[in-house]
């Protein structure tokens, strides 16, 4: 039986697959997809998935993100599937890791931190890659990446 794609195939570009439904718009925001006007973007929401039950997916045509950009996604979830497509073929599967610097994505959990009281971007550094610990650049409070809230 012929397998029917739920979302059209991509000739060249980047596929971000296995996005939890509730994280889709965080991914859109973190990758600044609104600033990719030269690319056509296909967004699939609430698609069937053997692995997850339901998932979301983004296909960005003719755009290849840097590793630093893709690593920002690890704040949302470490389990995305990231594929580079050239001429309809998957030519590279990427893994992501916590970036050294996370700018203006994560909210500091410390209510007395200056970043929660002043109009300014937040800034975190990864203090422990293996344990997924981020540290606020300003108040130095640490937070596990699983517990982050977004700005």
């Amino acid at each position: 039986m012929k397998k029917e794609l739920q979302v059209a195939a991509l000739d060249n570009g980047t596929v971000i697959d296995h996005i939890p439904n509730n994280k889709l718009f965080e991914v859109v925001r973190i990758l600044h997809l609104e600033k990719c006007p030269e690319s056509s973007i296909i967004v699939g929401f609430n698609l069937d998935s053997k692995k997850m039950g339901h998932k979301s997916l983004i296909k960005v045509r003719n755009h290849f993100f840097t590793d630093a950009e893709l690593n920002q996604l690890s704040i949302v979830s470490p389990n995305f599937t990231l594929c580079i497509i050239k001429n309809y073929e998957v030519v590279e599967k990427k893994t992501i890791e916590l970036p050294e610097v996370v700018k203006n994505i994560v909210k500091c959990p410390n209510p007395k931190c200056i970043t929660n009281n002043e109009p300014m971007p937040t800034l975190f550094t990864t203090s422990d890659q293996s344990k997924g610990i981020l540290q606020c650049h300003y108040c130095e409070k640490e937070i596990n990446v699983e517990d982050v809230k977004f700005t």
Binding site: N110, K112, C113, I114, T115, N117, E118, P119, M120, C136, H137, Y138, C139, E140, K141, E142
Partner: protein, 319 residues
Amino acid sequence: MFMTQKSSLVSIAHLAKSDLTYLLEMGKEFEKHPNRKILDGRIVATLFFEPSTRTRLSFETAANRLGAKVIGFSDPKVSSSTKGETLKDTIMMVANYSDTIVMRHHLEGAALRASEVSPVPIVNAGDGSHQHPSQTLLDLYSIQQTQGSLENLNIFLVGDLKYGRTVHSLIMAMRHFNPTFHFIAPKSLEMPAEYKYFCQKYGIRFTETEEFNEDIISKADILYMTRVQKERFTDLMEYERVKDTYILQRRMLCKAKDNMKILHPLPRVNEISQDIDDDPHAYYFQQAKNGLYMREAILCHVQGITLNDIKSDKTILDI
């Protein structure tokens, strides 16, 4: 390079051993000659978004004794921050008028933020429960002056080790000098795990106990007292149980080593008995005086004035 450029002093954590010893050396020069005109013509702004009388007086005295003029506010109610002005705007405005900004703020990370936007050096005079580097420097200076060295000392930290900013910063600064720390606190105010982890990471030896008596004190080179405050306890029964345990009485000094000195960041309430004040082990008032010398050093350092400049200074006043 740390030593010659105009630079802010925001945190003690990132200062190298050579930076610390350099600033302490500068402090010694100011102890010899505290009155000078080396900052003549410069303006120091003291912005106290949160009241702290003794820190402000110490900084303002340091500026005045070096010939600088002082502007600023000590009551945040009179600043524009109460009208909703951002910290950035306040700093940008005051930087137009002054050569250095000394700031105290109730929010953590405020001094770092200010240093990022300010065209003039920022000196952190305390940002919430985060950092208070001038206090740590005067603590180091006091330890060095009383012990002759910062190396290989037994330092006993007593009282509120959970919320006590000064003891946390002292651990960070002492990491360069091979200390052994002894944490003495009630269970509910014990040293937080992150600072014990810090000790492990830097190979700093430490012990922990709830006991506080003459036998414990007999091993100390430095006895650093802090106040156990009632409002820090969620369980008032616990407070009632421990409140008298961490009060230093004169009789508890009977086995103390001759070189042992008692430090306290002040203000004291009742955690050091008044009759200890004239004991040769008491050092807390001199410690506060040392704050003047270290703040003179800080105000010069952030203006790019070097140790050599201070040693060859021709503006010394004989008062």
